[in-house]
Symmetry: C2
Subunit: 437 residues, 2 copies
Amino acid sequence: MSPKALDYDQLNENVKKCQYAVRGELYLRASELQKEGKKIIFTNVGNPHALGQKPLTFPRQVIALCQAPFLLDDPNAGLMFPVDAVARAKHYLAMTSGGLGAYSDSRGLIGIRKEIAEFIGRRDGYPSDSELIFLTDGASKGVMQILNVIIRDQNDGILVPVPQYPLYSATISLLGGSLVPYYLEETANWGLDINNLRDAVRQATFKGMTVRAMVIINPGNPTGQCLSLANLKEIVHFCIQENLVLLADEVYQQNIYQDERPFISARKSVDEIYKIASISLSPNVPGQIFLGLMVNPPKPGDISYPKFEQESKGILESLRRRARMMTDGFNSCRNVVCNFTEGAMYSFPQIRLPPKAIEAAKKAGKLPDVFYCLKLLEATGISTVPGSGFGQKEGVFHLRTTILPAEEDMPAIMESFKKFNDEFMAQYEDHKGYSRM
Amino acid sequence: MSPKALDYDQLNENVKKCQYAVRGELYLRASELQKEGKKIIFTNVGNPHALGQKPLTFPRQVIALCQAPFLLDDPNAGLMFPVDAVARAKHYLAMTSGGLGAYSDSRGLIGIRKEIAEFIGRRDGYPSDSELIFLTDGASKGVMQILNVIIRDQNDGILVPVPQYPLYSATISLLGGSLVPYYLEETANWGLDINNLRDAVRQATFKGMTVRAMVIINPGNPTGQCLSLANLKEIVHFCIQENLVLLADEVYQQNIYQDERPFISARKSVDEIYKIASISLSPNVPGQIFLGLMVNPPKPGDISYPKFEQESKGILESLRRRARMMTDGFNSCRNVVCNFTEGAMYSFPQIRLPPKAIEAAKKAGKLPDVFYCLKLLEATGISTVPGSGFGQKEGVFHLRTTILPAEEDMPAIMESFKKFNDEFMAQYEDHKGYSRM
C-alpha cells in the first residue's frame, strides 16, 4: 500500500522538531486525571480567568456595547450601562468603518494605534509614531511575524534567554532558524550578565552562524525578574554593536510585585526607532478595542473610575500577596530555592533532587524534573511544567508554576506541595546530599 | 557603515516573494485618493460590514451577554435582551472555564466543536468526529497551519486553481513550497476539468516535484462558481489516486445565489476521514461563540427566530439581486464577458482590451489589467483588484470586484463603470478587434 498523504514521515521536519512544554506531557496527564474525576489545579498556563480572576467591569461594558451597537439606541441603556462606558463605546465605534464585524487595516485601526502611540509616549517620555505600530492577535503572532521576516535558514541565530518561554524555541524551530541560548544567572536573581551574551555570540559565530536578533522577556517568563535600567542600557548598546534586532517581550509590564525595580521598557532606554513587520489581513477588532481600553483606562472624575481602580488594584494587590506566599512556601522546603516573583505571573523554584530520585527517573525513562512533576501531579493534582521545557543548566532542576490560584486556596496548595515534597524526599533521600552543580 | 539589522537584502527571501494583490498597488492608490478627498467605493476586499451590511441581531445580543456576564444578573436584562439570547449566553458561558477572557483548549472549546460536528453531520448526512475538528482564527490561519505541516521544501507542490485567492500563492511562497497551477475553464462557467489536473501533475512531476495537496475553493473566489456533485466526486477520486491531501475552502457555503447547483461539501462526497493539524495556543474565544451561533441559529418557535430569519434572508436575497445586477451590468458592455456569480461574494469579469490599450499600458510600465483598473479607479472611485493578482491565462484580462456595495447604490455604480469603459474603449479602440486568446 502506498503511504497516506499525511503520514508522519512525510511531514515538515521543522514542525516535528517543535516542542511546547506548557501543553506537553504534564498537561496531557493532568487532563487524563481530570477526566478520571481528580481535582486538578492547572498552574501550567498563565490563564488567570480560568482560575477565577474576574474580568474588569468597564472594558467588558464597553465591548458589549460595541458588539451590540443597537443597545446604544435602547431607551433602557442608562439602566444597565454607565454614561462613560456609553461614550467610550461610541468613541471606538466611530473609529471603525462598519463596527466590529468589518476587517480593519492590516496593521490595526489607526485610531487605536494613535492611542497606543500616545500611551507609549507618556510611558517612555518621548514620542512614538503610530505608523510604526502593528497590532497582532496576541504576542505569539507578533513574535511569529517578526521572526519570519528575519530568519532565512539554519545559519541565522536568535539569542534567547534560558530559561525562556517555549514560544521562542518553538517558533525558531518552525521557521528553520537556530536558537542561540544565553543563560540567566539564578544566583543573581535571574539577572542578565552581558559577558554571557558575548560568549554566546562568539560560540555561535564560531559555528558559522550569523546572530540576527536578541530576545529579552521583561518581566521574565518563567523567571519573574525585572530588568534594571543599567542592565537594559547595556543590552541596547550590545545590540547596536552586534547589529542585532532587539525583540523586547514586555507583555507583563503591568504585573509588578515590588517597588525597588519598576518596569522600564527597552524602548525607554534607547533613542533608536525600530520597526516591526506584519503580513496578516486584519487583527481581531474586539481585541484592538480592549487594547485601547488598556492604554486609556477610566480617569479620576469618570463615573467608572472608582470601580475600575478598586477592581484592578484588588487584582494586583492580591497577586502580590500570592507571589509572596508562593515564594515563601517554596523556600520553606529545605531542598527548594526560589527567587521572589518580581513581576509577570510565574514562580520558577529550583528543586534539588537526591541521586536516588535521579536514578529512579532514569529507570522510568523520564527526565528528573518531569519525574518529580508527574509525582507531584499524581499526589496533589497540582499541574506544573518541568523546568526542562524552558531550558536550565545541566544537572539543575526546576518547575514552573503560575501564581494564579485563588488567594484563599493558596495556603492549602503550598501545604499540599510541602507535604508531597517531604514525602518524596523521605523516599529518595539517602542523607548523603543533593544533586546540584 | 555596517548594514542595519533589518535591511531589505538581509530579510527572508520567501517573505519578499509574497504578493497580496487585494491589498496591493490598487488598494494603496485608492487609499491615497481617499486621503485627497475622493469618494472611493472599496470593492477590493470582501468586507460586507464596511460597505454597510448590518450585523445579525441575535448573535450580537448573545456575544454582548457573554462578554459582560454581569448583565445576566441585572434585573433590567429582560428589558433589553430576549429570553432566548439570555439562555444561549448562559449555555456558551457554561462551556468555558472562566468566560471569554480565558484561553480555551488549543483546538477550541470542546462544547463548540461538538456543535460544529453535529452541524457537519446534519449537512452531509453522516457523522463527524469533534476530536478531529480544529478551530482557527479565520480560514487564513487554518490554511497557513495545514500547509506548514505539509510543505518541506520547494520540491513540494500544491495544486491551486487559477484564478485563485492570493492567500494560497502568498502562503505557499512564505513556506518555501511551489504552487502548481490548474486552470479553471472560463468558457465552461469556471468549471474544473479533471484533464487539466492530470496535465498539471504530470508537468510538475516532470520538473522533479512531488505534488502533495490540492486546493479547491467552493464557492469560488474570485470566480464565484459552485462545483457540482459529479465534479466533486471526480476530484476526490483523483486525490486518492494521486495520494493528495484535499484542502476544501468552503467559507462561502452560505452565500449561494442560484438554485440549480446548491452547495455540496467535499466531505459529503467522500467516505474518507481527513485530519487537520493545529499549533496555536487558543483560538479567539468570542469568534468560537459566533461559530456556535452560526451552526445553531434560532429555530422556529424561538422568540428571536422571526427577526433572525428576516435579517439573514434579507441579506441573502439582496446579495442575490446584487449578483444579478452586477453580472448584467458587466455583460451589457460589448467588450466585457462575465459569468454569473453563483456563490461567494465576487464578480470576475473578463475585459477584452484593444492592442492600443495594451501598448499604452506597456509604455506606462504596467500590466494591462493593472493599467485598466487604475484608470477605472481614477475616473470613478471604484477600487477593484486586477485579475493578474489571482492568475489568469496569458493574454486574457480580468478584474475582481465584490458584489457588496449597497443595493441602492448598485445601478449608479454599474452606470459609472459602463461610462468609464465606453470612454476607455473610445480612446484606445482602433476598430480592428480586441486582444483575446
